[in-house]
């Protein structure tokens, strides 16, 4: 179980500033349980974005975005629904966002911040992982988490040790920042790579009192 919280309306609007046509993809797994992908939230957001002149091209729910088979059946097969969108706003934990970004060539944005792990993590088999930083930055890094894919968890990479796509710490290990660079290039967003990203706020990892009170948070309750 990954506990996530919906980003604030202002933050989501900021993230989507440049986008016109947006598709909503919601996970009904952990994020639904902690209300970061509930129907009311999505309705609210859709209303707000529409009144800002944006188009929401459609919505799909997937039971578990971290489950490869479910994503392929419920999301990929509904291509007609999201094909026309500029970008996909994903309501899930960081694993779900990265899982989606991995399989489509579109900009993928996180709608939530993943706070912490209660129970088990997502089951998407692969290298995408979420460190539950509490302030998801996948919108800036092409849907690849810099905290888990970079050995130094850097926000402005790559470091000088990046060598032909390999990380300095180990032969055969991908350099996360090389992957981010390649992907931003592929989706024509290299301008995002040039931005100097703001400092990480480590205090965001501390779960709020309300979150600690959730049944899903405390598995021993």
């Amino acid at each position: 179980m990954l506990v996530s919280e919906l980003k604030s309306m202002d933050e989501i609007k900021e993230i989507l500033k440049q986008e016109q046509k947006i598709f909503f993809l919601a996970c009904l797994g952990c994020s639904d349980a902690c209300k970061s992908s509930s129907k009311e939230e999505l309705d609210n957001l859709e209303e707000a974005l529409k009144s800002d002149g944006k188009t929401i091209t459609g919505r799909v729910d997937v039971d578990f975005l971290c489950n490869k088979v479910l994503v392929k059946i419920k999301f990929l097969r509904n291509k007609d629904k999201w094909e026309g969108a500029d970008s996909i706003l994903v309501f899930s934990c960081g694993v779900g966002v990265q899982a989606v970004s991995k399989i489509i060539r579109k900009t993928v944005y996180p709608a939530a911040n993943t706070k912490n792990l209660g129970g088990f993590q997502g089951v998407w088999p692969g290298e995408e992982r979420c460190a539950q930083c509490g302030n998801c930055v996948l919108d800036l890094t092409a849907g690849i988490c810099p905290y888990t894919s970079c050995a130094k968890s850097m926000l402005n990479g790559p470091c000088g040790g990046s060598n032909e796509g390999e990380c300095e710490v180990e032969k055969g290990r991908d350099c996360g920042w090389y992957l981010i660079y390649e992907r931003l290039k592929a989706i024509n967003k290299l301008a995002d790579f040039k931005k100097i990203r703001p400092l990480r706020d480590h205090s965001r990892m501390l779960p709020k009192k309300e979150t600690r009170g959730l049944d899903f948070y405390a598995i021993d309750r």
Partner: protein, 288 residues
């Protein structure tokens, strides 16, 4: 003239570096620094180079300063979070240290304490931003300082990196954040360096080409295999292999590289990696 003024004057700059020892015996380092007196414009003091635990850069910078040298305080983000980094920068300024080289730093697993916690709370770019903010009289939490420092801030780049584009973008970020000079990773291929200079000359920042003394053909091969973005061409390896006097050959190669690189940039940075006593000989041979 301070180092910053020299930079501004457009003079050709020569820097070298000393690496603090593992243990408290500091004599050899001070002797090595003495040999550089009057020969270089500033001396870098490395910060736990190669992630190996040693005497700290700040203290050695202070000792050099007391003896009338011009130190460059190398600061990496590997071992200190933003509180400690900002605090050390203030401490440096209080001790009269005016030059800083901001680096991300190698990962601890590459050093002699691979079990250590990697910090990297900041990175080279955000460290430069932090320095500029302290100079403006505020810390990273926007709290006002009583008395503010003033530094000359440098950064590094690897001109031989593959692929080069992401490193060039990072380079640009460093300049935007406020880097005033750039020291490069070791350069052995002049033509590659020419190409690099072509791509960065628009930024108008002084660049010092890095010179690492080749100690042997084995070292060259090791670097080719293990050091990102460093390539020693075959002809240089052969020269090191065939020579009877490794030291003389190494000095000759370094001097030759310096002569080739000098017209292309604003300075050179010599990294002797243990062969500190040879730096004056290299400068002699290069006519500097």
């Amino acid at each position: 003239m301070s180092f910053k003024e020299k930079l501004k004057s457009g003079k050709f700059i020569i820097t070298s570096e000393v690496g603090p020892p593992k243990g408290t015996d500091i004599h050899v380092l001070l002797e090595d620094a003495e040999l550089l007196r009057g020969r270089v414009d500033a001396i870098n003091v490395t910060d736990l180079q190669s992630s190996v635990m040693r005497v700290g850069s700040l203290v050695v910078c202070h000792l050099l300063k007391q003896k009338g040298h011009e130190p460059i305080f190398q600061v990496t983000c590997r071992d200190r979070n933003r509180l400690a980094l900002q605090s050390d920068l203030l401490s440096a300024y209080v001790l009269g240290i005016e030059n800083v080289l901001a680096l991300t730093g190698d990962h601890p697993v590459l050093g002699d304490h691979p079990q250590a916690k990697p910090v990297f709370d900041l990175d080279s770019v955000s460290l430069i931003q932090a320095i500029r903010k302290l100079e403006a009289g505020y810390d990273l939490a926007d709290k006002e300082l009583q008395g503010k420092p003033k530094f000359c801030v440098g950064a590094v780049v690897n001109p031989g990196a593959e692929p080069l584009e992401p490193q060039l973008i990072k380079f640009e970020q460093k300049i935007r954040a406020g880097a005033e000079f750039i020291q490069t990773q070791a350069v052995y291929e002049t033509d590659k360096f020419v190409n690099f200079i072509e791509q960065v000359k628009q930024f108008k920042v002084p660049i010092f080409a890095g010179i690492v003394l080749l100690k042997s053909a084995g070292m060259a091969r090791f670097m080719n295999k293990n050091v990102a973005g460093v390539y020693v061409p075959d002809n240089l390896i052969k020269e090191m292999e065939q020579t009877k006097d490794k030291s003389a050959q190494s000095i000759e190669i370094a001097a030759r590289l310096i002569k080739e690189l000098k017209p292309l940039c604003q300075g050179i940075h010599i990294m002797p990696i243990g062969w500190d006593k040879k730096v004056p000989l290299v400068l002699d041979a290069a006519g500097l």
